[in-house]
């Protein structure tokens, strides 16, 4: 591509460029800017200002024209994003519509995207569980993927660093499978969940049940007031954007914080075409950006580049960053870029009812749930499949409204709801095994609206996933039965990969440049001034909700980059 704006080169030059303003990009930008680096944050979507651009945040249920339901035509036109649980009348403006950014599905893959300031951090489920060495040592122990180049002790301080700023509500549960962190007061389990917890402690001592650790402010309010954020108000309307800043998003927290340093510039509507590699200098020198609206091409330059475009888009950018030195994509000497993509298996769930605890109910709304950390194959291999699953748990007192009849009888019934049984449910979060056969590539012919090759996604379940689904349902059914749960129903919805919104890998970390793309500091082995710290860097997936780990990698790598720049090593 012709360098069209050489005259403006100086004003287009920064110390650092961060591609993507979502969960991980917000952290990269914050850490780089706080350390004094003149940083440019590129966001391909529209600007969303905290509070100001949350148009539905204070609407009452009856103020939504369709009471929250998405319109028929919208669903018909958006079969992919329409399947996302969070895509509702009050949130649909934060999701990318199917036709806005086409991609090729060689096998079904629901790619759920949010292009705006903060990306999908506005929309996430806010569960933040640390990894332990049972997770980092997984590939080495069980012989898949490659060994992670780090262990828990390398990253624990960075988990703490991130958690303090984010605000994480949780209990110090003392579990070696799920290390404790920097916690604010925990939310309460419901009576049903507490009963289930106690029953499991008796029946299955190795299967603890805890309250979820979630990115909500429940204490230390003065500290978070410095960020302009207040405590969680339990509205449970998080995906509209929170006017209190009660939950963490890049939009409410890292980006405003980085802007306050005076070292951060944000450019919206900036689709990154590729990273520029200078053959003579043997380093990346900048990025090519296409304006999402005008389609004009511009270049920006920096000494370090953080790729935080979101796992799939990060793969896309690197694959599209070709040069004489890297004809197959930036840093792709071994041909593994785009391979070993994995995700979380969310196919299965179970529900039932419980006849006891009739004297209790709950009060208010809780933006959180119970959590059962991985117990399967944790300390040794126990089954005929590899790895295991974590599980969500929820137990709520049902309220029954009698809807029979018509006329005054019906009306009377509607106004006299009664308490029903406790309803208890769980869903699986399974680890999937990264494989060379699960990959993304550039389509040789099809282009997106910005002239960039479309991403071709080829990601499938395998036999290991099917066995794990069966085991989850079997184990969980047994656990429910031991707790006296009745009317148990199980489901395997066979959803496409991607709908978990935990897509990972393609640019994995590892010790050996022959078998991995990134080193232990998230630098491309072959181009060390490019860092990848979003989900694309994941060597394996384990079972924990991954955002906390991406944020941790971002903060850790950004501080390393700052140190290396000071040492003149980058």
């Amino acid at each position: 591509m012709v360098n069209i704006n050489l005259p403006g080169k100086e004003e287009h030059t920064y110390d650092a460029i961060v591609i993507g303003s979502g969960m991980s990009g917000g952290w990269s930008a914050k850490e780089l800017a706080e350390n004094g680096l003149n940083t440019l944050l590129l966001e391909r979507g529209k600007e969303v200002k905290h509070i100001v651009d949350y148009p539905t945040t204070n609407l009452l249920p009856f103020e939504l024209e369709h009471r929250g339901q998405v319109q028929y035509d919208t669903l018909a036109q958006n079969p992919i994003v329409g399947r996302c649980y969070a895509f509702r009348e009050d949130t649909e403006h934060f999701f990318v519509k199917d036709e806005e950014h086409p991609y090729v599905q060689e096998s079904p893959f629901d790619w759920i995207r949010g292009y705006q300031t903060g990306g999908r951090s506005l929309l996430w489920a806010r569960q933040v569980q640390r990894w332990s060495d049972y997770d980092f040592e997984g590939p080495a122990r069980d012989g898949f993927a490659v060994d992670w180049p780090i262990r828990y002790k390398d990253v624990a301080p960075w988990y703490s660093h991130v958690e303090k700023f984010v605000g994480v509500s949780g209990n110090k549960d003392g579990l070696d499978a799920l290390p404790d962190g920097e916690f604010l007061p925990a939310m309460e389990l419901t009576a049903m969940e507490e009963y289930f917890q106690q029953t499991m402690a008796r029946e299955y001592p190795d299967r603890p049940v805890i309250i979820g650790r979630c990115a909500h402010i429940t204490g230390n309010f003065e500290y978070y007031a410095q960020q302009g954020r207040g405590g969680c108000q339990n509205r449970n309307l998080c995906q509209r954007g929170c006017p209190f800043g009660g939950y963490f998003s890049s939009t409410s927290a890292t980006i405003p914080w980085a802007l306050k340093t005076g070292n951060l510039s944000i450019r919206h509507h900036s689709v990154v075409h590729s990273i520029i590699f200078d053959n003579e200098k043997n380093r990346a020198t900048g990025v090519r950006v296409i304006d999402a609206n005008t389609k004009e091409s511009t270049e920006y330059f920096a000494r370090v580049i953080f790729v935080n475009a979101g796992s799939m888009n990060t793969n896309l950018i690197l694959l599209n960053s070709t040069s004489d030195r890297f004809p197959n994509g930036l840093g792709n000497d071994n041909g593994l870029l785009g391979r070993y993509v994995a995700f979380h298996n969310y196919r299965a769930g179970i529900s039932g009812e419980y006849e006891g605890l009739n004297e209790y109910r709950t009060a208010g709304r809780r933006p959180n749930g119970g959590y059962i950390p991985r117990f399967r194959n944790l300390k040794r291999q126990e089954t005929d499949f590899l790895r295991g699953y974590a599980a969500g748990l929820s137990g709520h007192r049902s309220i029954i409204t009698d809807r029979s009849g018509v006329g005054s009888e019906l009306k009377e019934n509607l106004l006299k709801p009664k308490y029903g049984l406790w309803r208890v449910g769980s869903h699986m979060m399974g680890e999937t095994i990264p494989k060379a056969s699960n990959y993304v590539q550039l389509d040789p012919d099809l282009k997106d609206p910005w002239g960039i090759p479309q991403l071709k996604i080829h990601v499938k379940y395998d036999d290991n996933d099917d066995k794990m689904v069966a085991d989850y349902l079997e184990q969980m059914q047994e656990m429910f039965e031991r707790a006296g749960v009745i009317n148990i129903r199980t489901r395997d919805d066979h959803r496409a990969p991607g709908l978990d919104i935990h897509e990972m890998g393609g640019v994995r970390m590892g010790k050996d440049p022959k078998t991995s793309l990134l080193n232990k500091w998230n630098q491309l082995h072959a181009c060390p001034n490019v860092f990848v710290t979003d989900g694309a860097c994941m060597t394996s997936t384990s079972t924990q909700n991954p955002s906390l780990t991406y944020m941790m990698f971002s903060a850790r790598a950004a501080n390393y980059a700052v140190d290396e720049l000071k040492r003149m090593n980058l």
Binding site: P61, N234, E359, T362
Partner: protein
């Protein structure tokens, strides 16, 4: 676009004194048309739908019903925007056939029926066992559309009623900021249950 059209119809209705006249050859059938994005309804059909809603949830001394809460407008917005073309067809066909069916069953037009007769008719339609008569396809499918109309209108009327400003502010208040969550609260005797609590 969608809202615009509805808004235009509303404004036209204001300008023309509440109705929008559409040229028609058959004035005897009162072809005054209410246009939605996906379908049109005659004045009579609209009146029938309103009465179905008002029969499903009537007004009384204590609480307003479907009429005061303008539930039939909500029903039509939902059918227009959130239902498939096939289901819209069934709904509109059911509505067009409704009065003929009512007359066959009761020898009365629905609009002139007493509230108790209207209630009974709706209940009978909902309770009607599915037919296994293979020879009367057209009739059965027309009745099934009538039943679909009544069942769908009932579901939407209940939703519109329970998720109305009146219920959610006066009867079972919904708090945007509900206060702390408690997982284990002892029930008190004769506790009034708030489905929005």
């Amino acid at each position: 676009m969608k809202m615009n059209r509805r808004e235009i119809i509303k404004q036209l209705a204001l300008l023309t004194g509440g109705i929008v006249l559409v040229p028609s050859c058959d004035f005897s059938r009162k072809e005054v048309v209410h246009a939605y994005n996906k379908f049109e309804l005659s004045e009579e059909s609209k009146a029938i739908l309103e009465k179905i809603c008002n029969t499903i949830i009537p007004s009384d001394d204590q609480h307003p019903g479907a009429e005061e809460l303008a539930i039939s407008d909500f029903v039509l917005v939902m059918i227009d925007d959130c239902y498939s073309p096939d289901n819209q067809k069934r709904f509109v066909n059911g509505l067009q056939r409704f009065d003929t069916y009512a007359f066959e069953q009761t020898r009365q037009n629905f609009l002139s029926m007493s509230p108790s007769h209207a209630t009974e008719l709706l209940q009978n339609i909902l309770d009607h066992p599915p037919s296994d008569d293979q020879d009367a396809h057209a009739e059965i499918s027309n009745f099934e559309d009538v039943r679909y109309l009544v069942q769908t209108t009932k579901n939407l009327t209940i939703q519109g009623f329970l998720v109305s400003e009146y219920i959610m502010t006066q009867v079972m208040p919904y708090q945007l900021v509900p206060g702390p969550f408690q997982g284990k609260v002892l029930l008190s005797e004769n506790e009034k249950i708030n489905i929005n609590g």
